[in-house]
C-alpha cells in the first residue's frame, strides 16, 4: 500500500493518518507496522514521566527547543487520560509545546489513554514505530501524570526522565513507594521555587542508601526550571552520558532485547486472548458462567479448564 511509502517520504499527513489507524485498531494496522518495521530501530526514545503538574509538558517543550539546535527530527507523543465517564478527553499537553507546531522538523501527537491503564495508551508502542520509521530520530513520550502503578513506559522508552517538583507531594514518602525504580535520570523541576533544594536533598538521600554499595551506579539528578528554560542543556548532556555509559557497560543491547521480548509477549498474549475470544466466545458466555457460579453449579477453575479443553480438542491442536 502506498501509505507506507508516503510515510517514508516524510508526509506528515500520511504519518498522522497511520497513527490514527493504529490507534483505532483498524484492519490495516498490522500490515502497516510490519511493512515499516525494517526501517525502525534508529530513534532514541525518551520517556518523560512524573506526577501530574510536575512540569512534564513544559520540560518537553524546552527539550524540543534545545535539541532542535542539533539538527534532529523530533517526534513527541503526549498522552493524557480519557474521561472514564464520557470517554472524551481534553488533550492539554500540546498547548505547552504549541509554538513548535510550525516547525517541519517536529511532529507532535496527542493521544488519549482510552481506558488503558499504565500511563500510556495501548497504541503508544506502535506509534513510536511509525515515528521511528518516518525518520524522527528522537522520540519523546510524555506519559499521563503517574501514580505508582502506571509505569508501562519502562517497556517502551530507552531512557526515562522522572520529573519531580516541590509542592507536588513528591516527598520522601512518594519516593519510597516504588516510582523511584523507574527513573533513569531524575529531574527536579521548578528549581526557581522554594523547596526544590529539599526535594533534591531527599532524592540524594534515598539514592545514596540504594546505591550504598555501588555508588558509581547512582542515577544522575538534575535541577532545572523548565518554565525559565534553565538547566536543560546540562540535563540533556547527562542523558547522553547516561546512554553512553549503558552502552559501554553493554547494558544498552540488553535493554533493547528486553524491550522486544516484552513486546512480543504482549502481542502474543493479546493475540491468544483474541483468538480464544473468537473461538470460545467468552464475552458472550460470561453472563451464563456468572449464573452458574452464583448458583454454585460450577466452580471457577473447573469451568474454565473445561471450556479450554473443549476448545483445544475442537481445534485439534492436540
Amino acid at each position: 500500500m502506498d501509505i507506507e511509502n508516503k510515510i517514508l517520504e516524510g508526509s506528515p499527513r500520511h504519518l498522522a493518518r497511520a497513527i490514527s489507524m493504529v490507534e483505532n485498531n483498524s484492519p490495516q494496522k498490522e500490515e502497516i507496522i510490519d511493512a515499516l518495521y525494517p526501517k525502525t530501530g534508529n530513534a532514541l526514545i525518551i520517556g518523560v514521566t512524573g506526577s501530574p503538574g510536575s512540569g512534564k509538558s513544559t520540560l518537553v517543550d524546552k527539550i524540543l527547543k534545545n535539541e532542535l539546535k542539533k539538527d534532529q527530527k523530533i517526534g513527541v507523543i503526549a498522552v493524557d487520560p480519557s474521561s472514564p465517564f464520557s470517554g472524551g478527553a481534553l488533550l492539554g499537553d500540546r498547548i505547552r509545546m504549541q509554538k513548535h507546531s510550525g516547525n517541519p522538523n517536529i511532529f507532535i501527537r496527542s493521544m488519549a489513554s482510552r481506558g488503558h491503564l499504565g500511563g500510556i495508551s495501548a497504541a503508544t508502542s506502535d506509534v513510536t514505530k511509525l515515528l521511528d520509521a518516518a525518520g524522527y530520530n528522537l522520540i519523546i513520550i510524555e506519559t499521563i501524570g503517574v501514580g505508582q502503578t502506571e509505569v508501562e513506559i519502562i517497556e517502551l522508552a530507552d531512557i526515562i526522565l522522572l520529573t519531580m517538583a516541590p509542592g507536588m507531594g513528591d516527598d520522601i514518602q512518594a519516593m519510597k513507594a516504588g516510582i523511584m525504580e523507574i527513573g533513569d535520570v531524575f529531574v527536579v523541576n521548578k528549581k526557581d521555587k522554594d523547596g526544590a533544594d529539599k526535594v533534591k536533598k531527599e532524592l540524594d538521600y534515598v539514592l545514596d542508601i540504594k546505591y550504598h554499595d555501588n555508588p558509581e551506579n547512582k542515577n544522575p539528578i538534575k535541577m532545572v526550571s523548565a518554565l525559565n528554560n534553565e538547566g536543560i542543556e546540562e540535563l540533556m548532556n547527562s542523558v547522553y552520558n547516561y546512554i553512553n555509559k549503558l552502552k559501554k557497560q553493554g547494558k544498552w543491547e540488553d535493554k533493547r532485547k528486553t524491550k522486544i521480548k516484552k513486546e512480543l509477549k504482549k502481542i502474543f498474549s493479546k493475540k491468544i486472548h483474541e483468538l480464544m475470544d473468537i473461538h470460545i466466545n467468552y464475552t458472550e458466555k460470561l453472563d451464563d458462567w456468572v449464573k452458574l457460579l452464583m448458583n454454585k453449579e460450577e466452580k471457577p477453575y473447573s469451568l474454565i479448564n473445561k471450556e479450554l479443553k473443549s476448545f483445544i480438542k475442537e481445534s485439534e491442536i492436540l
Partner: protein, 555 residues
C-alpha cells in the same frame, strides 16, 4: 427585649403562622435562590450589630471607609463622566467619531485600539493580518496619533486609553501630540489602563513576562507622579475578569488582589504610597443582578480603603479612595433580539450609578455582533442621560444603604473577598497565583458553571434560552473597511521614508541600553516616538531584552 430580638421573634411567628401555610398551598418557584455569595434568603431583616458598626463600616460619603461613596456630595455635586469607549478603523474615522460624541454631550474620550496595537505589532507585521482596525483604531506611529487627536484640545478633554502592555508607548505619543498642540504635560488629564495582571488572567493582550511588565508599570507611576501629575496611571480592571466568566465576588477579589500587587511593587521600587496611591483608579463591570452589583461596588470601596490604610499604611484619605470607571457587561448582551440589550444596559446603568461610579460606558445594543453604529451609540449614551436627569436616583447619595439585603450582601461579599485575598497571599501574591493558574482556574470554573446553567435553563436569558423568535430582525451593522491594512501599511512606509532613520536607530539603541539597565524607560520611549519610531519597533526592542510571556493555560 432588644429591638433585634423582638424582630427575630416576630419573624419566627410569621414563618410559622403565615408563611408555612402559604407555602403548602403555593410552593415557591425554586428550591433555592442564589447569588454570587451563595443562597439568598427569603426576606432580610435588620442586622443585629448595626448600631455598633454603622460609623466604622458604613459611615458617610467621602469619609473612610468610603462604603457610601468617595466624595461628600457625589452626584449632587457633579454627575459621573459619561465616557463612551470608541475607536475603529483609521485614525481619521475615529477622530470623526470623537468629535461627534463630544458634540452629543459626552464629557470624556475613551480610545479603543486595535489588537495589533495592543500587542505591540505594526500593521505591516504578519501577525496583524485580518486584525488591523478591527476592534479599535490602528496606531503605528506618532503620525496616526496626531491625526487621531486633530482638532481636539487636549488641555480640555480627559482621555482614557485602553492600552496595557504598550501603555508607555501610547502615553508617550499622547504627551508628544500635546506638546505639538502647545499643551504641557502637567495639564494632561486622563487614564491609561496599564493593568497587565488582568491581561495574563483574562484578556490576553500581554507581551512581556510579569517582572518586566511590572517594571514598565512602576516606571510609568514614577514618571507621571513627577511629570504628568493629573494622569491616572493605572486602571485596575475587574471588567475583563468578569467578562471572562467570574462571578461578582471573584471580580472584586481578583481586582483588589491585582491592586495589592501593584502597590507592593511600587513601594518596593521606592515610591511613596501617598504620592502614587491617589492616582490609582479602578474599572468594574455592571451586570444585570442590580442589587448584587450595588453591594459589590460598596464592598469594593470599603475593602480597598482598608487595604490601603491597614496593609500599606497610607496616611492620606485620597490614597484610600477607590475611584472607578464602569462599563456595562459586554457578555450580557445577546446577539438574539438585539433591542433587548437596551433594557439590559438600562438596568446595568442603574447598578453603576446606585453603586457610585465615577464614570460610565454604556454598551450599544449591537455590540454582540460587531462594532456599534452611530445610532446605537447614541441610544446608549441617552440611556445614561435618562438615568442622570429623569430617574431621580441622583438626588441623594447611596440611596440603597440601609436596605437590609444590600447591607448584608455588602458584608458577605467583603468577607468572601478577604478569603480570596488571604488565599492569594498564601500562594505568594498575585503574580505567583497567576503563574500557577490558580486565578484562571477559579474563573474558568465559574464560567463553565454559568454556561451550564444557561444550557440547562436553570438560568434564563431572554431571547436565548426562552422567548426566542424564529426570524431575527435584520440589523444595520457597521463594517470596517477590509482594505485598512493596506492604508496603514502605506502610511508607515511614507513615515519611514520621511523620518531620520539614523536618529531612530540611535534612540532605539538608547532605549535598549536603558532596558538592560535600570533607568526609568519613559523618557527614552518619549524620545523614540518623537523621532517617529514605530510602535512595533519600540515594542520589539523591549522584546529583545525582556522576552515574551508564555501563556499558562489551565484547562
Amino acid at each position: 427585649m432588644s429591638e433585634y430580638e423582638k424582630i427575630k421573634k416576630e419573624k419566627k411567628e410569621w414563618e410559622e403562622k403565615k408563611l408555612n401555610k402559604f407555602l403548602e398551598k403555593a410552593p415557591e418557584r425554586k428550591e433555592e435562590f442564589k447569588n454570587s455569595t451563595g443562597e439568598v434568603e427569603r426576606v432580610y431583616t435588620p442586622q443585629e450589630d448595626i448600631e455598633d458598626k454603622y460609623v466604622n463600616e458604613i459611615g458617610f460619603p467621602g469619609q473612610y471607609p468610603f462604603t457610601r461613596g468617595v466624595y461628600p456630595t457625589m452626584y449632587r455635586g457633579r454627575l459621573w463622566t459619561m465616557r463612551q469607549y470608541a475607536g475603529f478603523g483609521t485614525a481619521e474615522e475615529s477622530n470623526k467619531r470623537y468629535k461627534y460624541l463630544l458634540e452629543q454631550g459626552q464629557t470624556g474620550l475613551s480610545v479603543a485600539f486595535d489588537l495589533p496595537t495592543q500587542i505591540g505589532y505594526d500593521s505591516d507585521d504578519e501577525m496583524s493580518i485580518g486584525e488591523v482596525g478591527k476592534v479599535g483604531v490602528a496606531i503605528d506611529t506618532l503620525k496616526d496619533m496626531e491625526i487621531l487627536f486633530d482638532g481636539i484640545p487636549l488641555e480640555k478633554v480627559s482621555t482614557s486609553m485602553t492600552i496595557n502592555a504598550p501603555a508607555a508607548v501610547l502615553l508617550a505619543m499622547y504627551i508628544a501630540v500635546a506638546e505639538k498642540q502647545g499643551v504641557s504635560k502637567e495639564k494632561l488629564r486622563g487614564t491609561i489602563q496599564n493593568d497587565i495582571l488582568k491581561e495574563y488572567i483574562a484578556r490576553g493582550t500581554y507581551i512581556y513576562p510579569p517582572e518586566s511588565s511590572m517594571r514598565l508599570i512602576t516606571d510609568i507611576f514614577e514618571y507621571c507622579s513627577d511629570e504628568v501629575p493629573k494622569w491616572n496611571t493605572i486602571s485596575i480592571s475587574g471588567y475583563h475578569i468578569r467578562e471572562a466568566g467570574s462571578d461578582a465576588v471573584q471580580e472584586v477579589a481578583f481586582t483588589i488582589a491585582d491592586g495589592i500587587e501593584y502597590v507592593k511593587k511600587a513601594i518596593e521600587a521606592g515610591l511613596d504610597v501617598d504620592k502614587f496611591g491617589r492616582r490609582l483608579s479602578f474599572f468594574f463591570n455592571a451586570h444585570n443582578d442590580l442589587l448584587e452589583e450595588v453591594a459589590k461596588f460598596r464592598a469594593a470601596r470599603r475593602i480597598w480603603a482598608k487595604v490601603m490604610k491597614e496593609k500599606f499604611d497610607a496616611k492620606k484619605e485620597k490614597s484610600m479612595r477607590l475611584r472607578f470607571h464602569t462599563q456595562t457587561g459586554g457578555s450580557t448582551l445577546t446577539a438574539q433580539q438585539p433591542d433587548n440589550n437596551i433594557v439590559r444596559v438600562a438596568i446595568q446603568t442603574l447598578a453603576a450609578v446606585l453603586g457610585g461610579t465615577q464614570s460610565l460606558h454604556t454598551n450599544s445594543r449591537d455590540e454582540a455582533l460587531s462594532l456599534p453604529t452611530e445610532d446605537s451609540v447614541r441610544i446608549a449614551l441617552r440611556t445614561q442621560q435618562i438615568v442622570a436627569h429623569e430617574s431621580g436616583v441622583t438626588k441623594t447619595i447611596d440611596p440603597l444603604a440601609g436596605s437590609h439585603y444590600v447591607e448584608k450582601l455588602t458584608d458577605e461579599i467583603e468577607e468572601q473577598v478577604w478569603e480570596y485575598i488571604d488565599k492569594i497571599e498564601e500562594l505568594g501574591g498575585m503574580t505567583k497565583a497567576i503563574e500557577k493558574g490558580y486565578v484562571q482556574k477559579e474563573i474558568q470554573d465559574s464560567a463553565y458553571d454559568y454556561q451550564k446553567e444557561i444550557e440547562n435553563k436553570e438560568r434564563i436569558v431572554v431571547g436565548v434560552n426562552k422567548y426566542q423568535i424564529d426570524k431575527e430582525p435584520e440589523s444595520d451593522i457597521l463594517k470596517v473597511n477590509p482594505k485598512l491594512r493596506e492604508v496603514q501599511i502605506d502610511r508607515i512606509e511614507k513615515v519611514k521614508k520621511k523620518r531620520d532613520s539614523k536618529k531612530v536607530e540611535q534612540k532605539l539603541a538608547e532605549l535598549k541600553n536603558a532596558a538592560e539597565g535600570s533607568d526609568n524607560l519613559m523618557p527614552y520611549i518619549i524620545d523614540a516616538v518623537k523621532e517617529y519610531a514605530t510602535l512595533g519597533e519600540i515594542c520589539n526592542t523591549l522584546r529583545d531584552v525582556f522576552g515574551e510571556y508564555e501563556e499558562s493555560i489551565v484547562l
